[in-house]
Amino acid sequence: MAGEPRETGEAIPEVNNPLSWIDTSLLTVIAASVAVVVVSGLVQVSFGAFTMSITTAWASVFDPAVWTNPQVLLRLFLGEGFGNAVASALGISTAAVDLSKETLIVWQIRMPRVIVGVIVGANLAVSGAVFQAVTRNELASPFILGVSSGAGLAILLTLIVFTGFAAFLPLVAAGGGAVAFILVYAIAWKGGTNPVRLILAGVIVSTVFSSLQTGLFFFADDLGVVQSAIAWTTGSLTGVDWEQVRMGLPWTLVAVPLTLVGARQLNVLLLGERTARSLGMSVERVRFALSAVAVLAAGTAIAVAGIVGFVGLIVPHMVRQLVGSDYKRLVVACVFAGPALVTLADVGARLALSPAQLPVGIVTGLIGGPYFLYLMRKQDGLGDL
């Protein structure tokens, strides 16, 4: 009988619209974030060893020679060989295009930094948002839960010991992150878990893994490896290349859509385990699957830029203040706001001590630490979502 409609014969209200969840607050966040990314990006491409006026830099970004020749973009995003293959498969000319020196510098050297910043921001923000729902804990993030340190350790091991796996860095990082996350959960588990225990377990695992990371430096053969290893552990966008874009983008295109699809599951998870179960959810399975997606997202970000701390904590929290806790809105907003924070912080990293450049992780750490403190002070029950 429950299967049959209980007719009341009234009209369907206007909420019957698949896009009704998009509201003005979400659109505002998206618009503001896009503006921040564009401005930060333009600032970013104007600075560097080769001096260039801001107007020249901007003109290079919008150089018609790039935008009217799709093969140029394809080659940049997909690599020389694959880009050409795709271009010819699509019937686009693969002819070489003559670009001005400025355009070459902006597009080949400076743009990747902005794009990688976008990738890192989106992945970390989404990862944090998922972890916060899965653990029902506002203070959760890949950094706090030890995922970052696990991924970092795996990357350092790859760079220093198992150099053969370098091509699979995002997967290696995700693997390390997964191990750390499972460890944290196992330590925090005592017939269930709570925010404080999770965070303490995260601190324990992070501490041990960070020590192992530092310990690895002593096994590095040359100083160059140590230097790049240190850059990894602080999280830096300096010197990233199109190679990082090509490495990170595919996984981002896996993790972000999966999270969007999972938004309804995340919403139901937030109703508590018992309710989620009574609504027919296989809670453990869903939690596990979504955690895996979050670990993949975090691993991707860490593989291309190292451990950029606190983005996964701050962005979902700020966004939640603006668009509310509905995960469809929240995840979409995170995909935009995360890049905004990272590209903005990276402008700070470049300009703060100019001409010296800071790793962006230092800037996000400087913003994130106090924000975390503010969250702690504000919250009555620590972090219960």
């Binding site: 209980r6 369907i12 699809v261 937030l270 508590g272 018992r274 027919g280 959810m281």
Partner: protein
């Protein structure tokens, strides 16, 4: 009455067939509003415990008759909520089984069970910015596939649930801004949007003011009357249980002390033995009336 007749009819340690027969009898008994009755919940020779501890609940046989309202009553720690958990397959029995519609609840796929059996738990932890309508919409979760959006019937079900509970005026308010009673109604709307054949309610009136207690109970009994939904509810207030339910199951130390229609179950003896209170039981037009006098020292 019906339950007692029942127990005679179906007592033999029952093959499934005998059980099904029993159910048929009851349907004819419980005629009236429920044209096509919802399935009953039957408990057979069950032992429930947490972890490795001693059984919290042990009973040979209990029935939550189809299309009727059954209230679980008993003092704190008597096993009411535990019993409810076994009905929702949240707790796997050490032995025995709960059958719903003739099938062990443990055998149901979680989604399948959620389409037929709803639970209003005491766990209410939605994010504060969730609106009442969004919360009610979550009740459609078991009816939607992984990639499916809301269909027309889902919107209708949500509207019906909101209307039945009487929270249309709160539909766009955030749960965090509601009073305890209003929030409980919002959660009830979520469970009703599930449109299940049976409902389990875990202390739905505890901590509510009188107005909202009645709102909750009225919505549930209307649903029972209109659609013959089988209801099993844990209640603390004996008088309320007697007025509201068709059947009572009184639990003491994890075992049923007595079960049947309220006027057969509630008497001074029961109040003394089960609840440890001395009370007068009068009979009014609406069933037994309980006037507690004093607590008996143990």
């Amino acid at each position: 009455m019906s339950t007692d007749d029942e127990s005679d009819a179906g007592t033999p340690p029952a093959s499934t067939d005998a059980r099904v027969d029993g159910d048929d009898d009851r349907d004819t008994d419980a005629e009236g509003a429920a044209a096509e009755a919802s399935p009953p919940l039957s408990i057979r020779d069950i032992a429930l415990s947490y972890g490795d501890g001693d059984p919290v609940v042990e009973t040979d046989r209990l029935e939550v008759p189809a299309g009727e309202i059954t209230a679980l009553i008993g003092p704190n720690g008597s096993g009411k909520s535990t019993l409810l958990k076994s009905m929702n397959a949240e707790l796997t029995p050490d032995r025995g089984a709960v059958t719903f519609d003739g099938r062990d609840v443990e055998e149901y796929d979680t989604t399948e069970l959620a389409r037929k059996l709803g639970l209003l738990s005491q766990e209410h932890v939605a994010p504060e910015s969730t609106t009442v309508r969004e919360l009610a919409t979550h009740g459609r979760y078991p009816h939607r596939g992984f990639f499916e959006g809301m269909r027309e019937e889902d919107y209708r079900a949500v509207d019906r649930a909101i209307e039945r509970v009487g929270v249309e005026h709160l539909a766009d308010r955030q749960v965090g801004d509601l009073s305890g009673g209003q929030a409980q109604l919002a959660w009830l709307a979520m469970v009703l949007a599930q449109e299940t054949e049976a409902l389990l309610l875990d202390e739905p009136t505890t901590y509510l003011d009188l107005h909202h207690q009645l709102r909750v109970l009225d919505a549930v009994s209307d649903l029972n009357e209109d659609y013959g939904v089988t209801v099993c509810v844990v209640l603390h207030d004996i008088g309320q249980a007697a007025r509201f339910a068709d059947n009572l199951i009184a639990l003491r130390d994890g075992e049923p002390y007595e079960w049947g229609p309220p006027d057969e179950v509630i008497n001074e003896q029961l109040l003394r033995d089960v609840f440890g209170v001395e009370a007068e039981v009068g009979f009014g037009p609406n069933g037994p009336r309980v006037t507690p006098r004093r607590a008996i020292d143990e």
